[in-house]
Symmetry: C2
Subunit: 197 residues, 2 copies
């Protein structure tokens, strides 16, 4: 049950219409919670019905008419509660790891190509994040490489938290890049064949 909270967060940062939200999900928010525009509209409807958000009365509602939403006190309260609440981390569920495990049984034929493909994808994603970091967080240290110590302005608490989240994304991509590299070396060391030795 995270999508409504993702939307509330986005709406608190800036009141938006459904399509604007969808675009923001494709960018900054999407790197830790993705959603399609259909999901977003559906959820906006629910949030409005439950009194968490309200449509700004810019134009009277009609099918193809833009509709902007803002968060109501109830919505903010809901979000505040959710942030501090308890919710266990969900167990890992990764298809690639599963495929690797399956390859231990049926052989690694064709796997290396797929691993290389994933490697390229993760390298690309990492590079994109690095760009975002350079743009939005002016290359401050964090986990990243060091740049010239040209701090323009002391970052706000909110900035530091957002940077932290981005860094988690970068760390994850780096993890996969490293792991895939290691996996490719491991596999090429002893080519393949159904089941080991």
């Amino acid at each position: 049950m995270s999508l409504p909270h993702a939307i509330l967060t986005a709406l608190l940062e800036r009141p938006s219409s459904g399509l604007e939200l969808a675009r923001r999900f494709d960018r900054s928010i999407g790197y830790f919670w993705s959603a399609t525009h259909q999901q977003i509209y559906r959820e906006l409807g629910r949030l409005e019905r439950s009194g968490c958000i309200r449509a700004l009365a810019s134009q009277r509602p009609a099918r193809g008419r833009k509709k902007e939403y803002e968060v109501l006190p109830a919505g903010r309260a809901e979000l505040t509660g959710w942030v501090s609440g308890r919710e266990d981390p969900k167990p890992v569920r990764d298809a690639l790891l599963l495929r690797m495990r399956a390859a231990a049984v049926v052989g690694t034929d064709g796997l290396p190509d797929e691993l290389r493909r994933h490697l390229a994808l993760h390298e690309r994603q990492l590079a994109d994040y690095a760009d975002i970091e350079a743009r939005d967080f002016s290359g401050r240290p964090g986990t990243a490489a060091e740049t010239t110590p040209e701090r323009t302005e002391a970052p706000t608490e909110a900035d530091r938290l957002r940077h932290l989240v981005l860094r988690a994304g970068m760390d994850l991509e780096r993890l996969w890049v490293d792991w895939l590299t290691e996996a490719l070396r491991e596999i090429s060391a002893a080519p393949a064949g159904p089941d080991g030795a």
Copy 2:
């Protein structure tokens, strides 16, 4: 569509009944793909109907009667194809990162406790993996700390792949431990308050 493949893999490693599979999912398989026993039974039914697996004729089927399955050639072929096929990595979707981002907007009240709780959970999981590694892979190097170079036997290819998968799990847990530690330091540096500065 990974659960059927997870089951095929498990069944190839050793023919089992539904409950045995469920138990194995709670242990080794569960660290990258979890499933409840209900899911497993449902999927076993589908796999049998589609000719990928077959029930061993130990007893004639009845409601409370144990039923063991083995993989048929069609099932092995299906799995082999899946291993080498294309399947993009799914975008990250992590509720904790989302909550952190929300905290940047509504404040970090109550968050540190939750972060500490997650930290403990991940440390625990990492320790469990380390135990498994020591038991099943006799503490060979990998990403882990070095032990005495007492290689008992050269590992098979299958062993090395399974170890690789386990190491990915360990790397992930380590990532969260490190990130949570950093996050806690970052937050305690400037206590809280709704929105930054």
